[in-house]
């Protein structure tokens, strides 16, 4: 067979496949989940095994306000996506701005909490196993929030300059998927670290 075969083609047959952006993001979420699971397992495994204080019960306080902020930012980013899909561009800008604000509040809350833990309670990553696992797990999550915030701020910037329209709806949806994932991880971290782990 030296000649190249001619493959038949019939362009009129309907053939639709899922969007690559969403599939790609779902894959990333699966891979990231595996990383988080290992950190959660390490946290649970070392619960109560620290050789010295302070213990979670002594120093941790429920971060209720900031958690509510983060969870509601899932709602606002969802509204931003639906607004963009319906070509309501200014509504999209407002919802995006709200999302960035809520995410920012959460990150500031984490910063204040860490400041207190380090300077008042004297808990650092070196102190004991609790410090090691706590800072790495919460820090890993916070770094994901930070990355999400940077991307959302970029989207907000584009939106403010009027560069975003309904054609970008799918990209914003991909970004929102990541943000929902970050929120879902916080739900797990919140339950493991602040509710059951105390």
């Amino acid at each position: 067979m030296s000649t190249t075969a001619v493959m038949p083609h019939s362009p009129d047959e309907s053939w639709t496949l899922p969007s690559r952006g969403i599939v790609g993001m779902v894959c990333l979420i699966v891979a990231e989940s595996a990383i988080f699971i290992i950190f959660v397992v390490a946290y649970v495994f070392y619960l109560g095994k620290s050789l010295s204080g302070p213990t979670p019960g002594e120093v941790l306080h429920l971060p209720i306000f900031t958690s509510i902020c983060l969870f509601s930012s899932s709602f606002t980013v969802h509204r931003a996506v639906t607004s963009l899909e319906h070509s309501r561009r200014s509504a999209c800008t407002v919802w995006l701005a709200l999302t960035v604000l809520l995410g920012g509040i959460f990150l500031c809350g984490t910063g204040i909490e860490w400041h207190e833990l380090i300077y008042i309670d004297g808990l650092t990553i070196k102190t004991n196993l609790f410090g090691t696992t706590f800072y790495s797990l919460v820090g890993l999550h916070a770094s994901h929030v930070l990355i999400g915030l940077i991307m959302l701020s970029l989207a907000l910037l584009f939106s403010l300059r009027g560069k975003m329209n309904s054609r970008h709806g799918e990209r914003l949806e991909v970004l929102s998927l990541y943000w929902h994932f970050v929120d879902a991880v916080w739900a797990v971290v919140f339950l493991v670290v602040y509710v059951f782990g105390k």
């Binding site: 000649t3 075969a5 070392y46 090691t132």
Partner: protein
């Protein structure tokens, strides 16, 4: 060329019209490329380079072990050699070569023009390549301030507390950690790309149940990579925090657990074995039917077995840890899970045999390697079942029996199937055939060398020779066996050199292949060899699992028998 429309003919000529490109232009083209075929070839080339490096390290170790009380290398050097050999072979030979073939073949096989995310593809390759360089840079940079240590010497699974600052001063372990972290990122990127390509870019008519089995297996392998590489990445982050930030994850002095590292590493490590071996199955699924002149036997069973292996491989990791003392229940569970995984693997072997059965078998070099793979993989699986029994493992764990077992998988199965894939797809990649005559020399020399080395290696293991020792006393009765094992390595080295020579020589002097030298059935053979940058001038439409068979035999098309 029949597929060329006037537009594509103009495209093709745009490049050839001018003069030959400058050397620097060619380099620039390759460095900046996002073409899946070029990235695939770069993956393969980079893996072949490290294959030679890590093979050379193995050769040095075999020289050291050939006679008792040898002083060819120092114990320190020996530790570095087996660490670098293992790390390189797994992360910088196995993974990149499999992803290289995947990158090259998947878009061609599903009738797409490129991967789903071409730039991510290039990023993944370069970050992995950087990881490999970083590992070997440790030979220069590993000294650190302490002036001791060069390359990492903690073994490829780097058990704690060997990796702690106290026991591993200098930077060698840091280079090891960083390079694994970086290749891990590259691996996740490529795996993500493969999944998105397979799901989103199939040509019209290429339903999931019509995809070539190779693509199916790469899909499962990639999904497995997500769940396997994640734990490795997490463990490496923890190790870095331990070494740099003073955390205590694996610090036994502060209540940390060394066994936790073992769990995390093997949660990655065992699925990793399947990530490496599944693509070998994938090649077998394409090559064995073509050279048996029969469609693959039991396509749905093959897919089911692949998915089954994917799931079960996540629950067998602790069979690497029987000697730790996990307790009876854990031992029973992991023994059982490990035995269960031989069921889907057995299904695959029977299906390949059934494909061969009654076929008109063509013994090309590619097929010879594939048949070698079948036998050797079976034996590797049988010693695997032996080792899965916890009490048996207590006797032979960390002995040369284990080394022989996993090299039977990695060399006897995976490397043989890789050679087979080279002989099969080299004509597509370069447009030239590999020399069959040199190939036969390569096959027989490698086969003899392989069996000399790895069959006999089981025996010193049973006689009590532990792995990772740099020398042994003359009165142990291991001397003759070790000498024979080492002489097998020489055969394999010569065969590998022949193979490299064949690759280079055939590139310039090989017979012109044409687009379909094997009279095969999958889409990659419907385009020219090598394929143009856009792969297909017109996106094809398929209506069965063997589109080219349908085209060549319209009177007896597969699509008549499929639903």
């Amino acid at each position: 060329m029949a597929t060329q429309t006037p537009t594509t003919a103009a495209l093709d000529q745009a490049r050839s019209r001018g003069q030959r490109p400058l050397w620097l232009e060619t380099v620039h083209e390759w460095v900046t490329t996002v073409d899946h075929k070029r990235i695939g070839l770069m993956y393969i080339g980079y893996a072949l380079f490290f294959l030679i490096v890590a093979g050379f390290e193995a050769l040095l170790m075999r020289i050291q072990l050939a006679i008792p009380n040898n002083t060819f290398v120092s114990p320190q050097t020996f530790n570095r050699l087996f660490t670098m050999h293992g790390t390189t072979m797994v992360f910088f030979v196995g993974m990149p070569i499999l992803f290289g073939f995947g990158n090259y073949l998947i878009p061609l096989m599903i009738g797409a023009r490129d991967m789903a995310f071409p730039r991510l593809n290039a990023f993944s390759f370069w970050i992995s390549a950087f990881g490999g360089l970083l590992l070997y840079f440790s030979y220069l940079g590993g000294d650190g301030l302490y002036g001791m240590g060069s390359a990492p010497d903690v073994g490829w699974f780097a058990y704690a507390p060997l990796t702690a600052r106290v026991f591993s001063p200098g930077h060698s372990t840091d280079y090891w950690t960083l390079s694994l972290l970086l290749t891990g990122i590259g691996t996740i990127g490529t795996a993500l790309n493969i999944v998105a390509t397979t799901i989103c870019l199939r040509c019209p008519g290429m339903k999931l149940n019509r995809m070539p089995l190779l693509v199916w297996i790469y899909l499962v392998t990639s999904l497995l990579a997500f769940v396997a590489i994640g734990p490795l990445t997490a463990a490496q982050i923890m190790l870095m925090l331990d070494r740099y930030a003073g955390a205590h994850f694996f610090d036994t002095q502060a209540g940390g657990s060394a066994v936790l590292w073992m769990h995390f590493f093997w949660i990655f490590g065992h699925p990793e074995v399947y990530i490496l071996v599944l693509p070998a199955f994938a090649f077998a699924n394409e090559i064995i039917p073509v050279f048996s002149r029969k469609a693959i036997f039991g396509y749905p069973a093959m897919v089911a077995a692949t998915v089954g292996i994917g799931f079960i491989s996540l629950s067998v990791w602790a069979h690497h840890m029987f000697t730790v003392g996990m307790g009876a229940w854990a031992n029973t569970f992991f023994t059982f899970a490990t035995m269960i995984i031989s069921v889907p693997t057995g299904i695959k072997i029977f299906n390949w045999l059934a494909t061969l059965w009654g076929g008109r078998i063509h013994f090309t070099v590619s097929m010879m390697f594939a048949v070698g793979f079948l036998f050797q993989f079976l034996i590797a699986g049988l010693t695997g079942i032996m080792l899965s029994v916890a009490p048996f493992d207590w006797q032979l764990g960390s002995s040369y029996f284990v080394v022989a077992h996993f090299h039977y998988v990695l060399v006897g199965a995976i490397l043989f199937m890789l050679f087979s894939a080279f002989y099969y797809w080299y004509p597509k990649m370069t447009g030239r055939m590999l020399s069959e005559k040199l190939g036969k020399w390569h096959f027989w020399l490698f086969l003899i060398g392989f069996h000399l080395t790895f069959d006999l290696m089981h025996i010193p293991g049973m006689l009590g020779m532990p792995r990772r020792i740099y020398t042994y006393e003359a009165d142990r009765g291991w001397a003759i066996l070790n000498m024979l094992v080492s002489s097998g390595a020489v055969f394999q080295s010569i065969a590998s050199l022949l193979f490299v020579w064949n690759l280079v020589h055939s590139y310039f002097k090989g017979a012109i292949a044409g687009s379909d030298p094997w009279d095969a059935w999958t889409l990659e053979w419907s385009t020219t060899s090598p394929p143009p940058p856009y792969n297909f001038a017109v996106i094809p439409t398929v209506s069965s699992r063997r589109p080219l068979w349908d085209l060549k035999h319209p009177e007896d098309a597969d699509s008549n028998y499929e639903m």
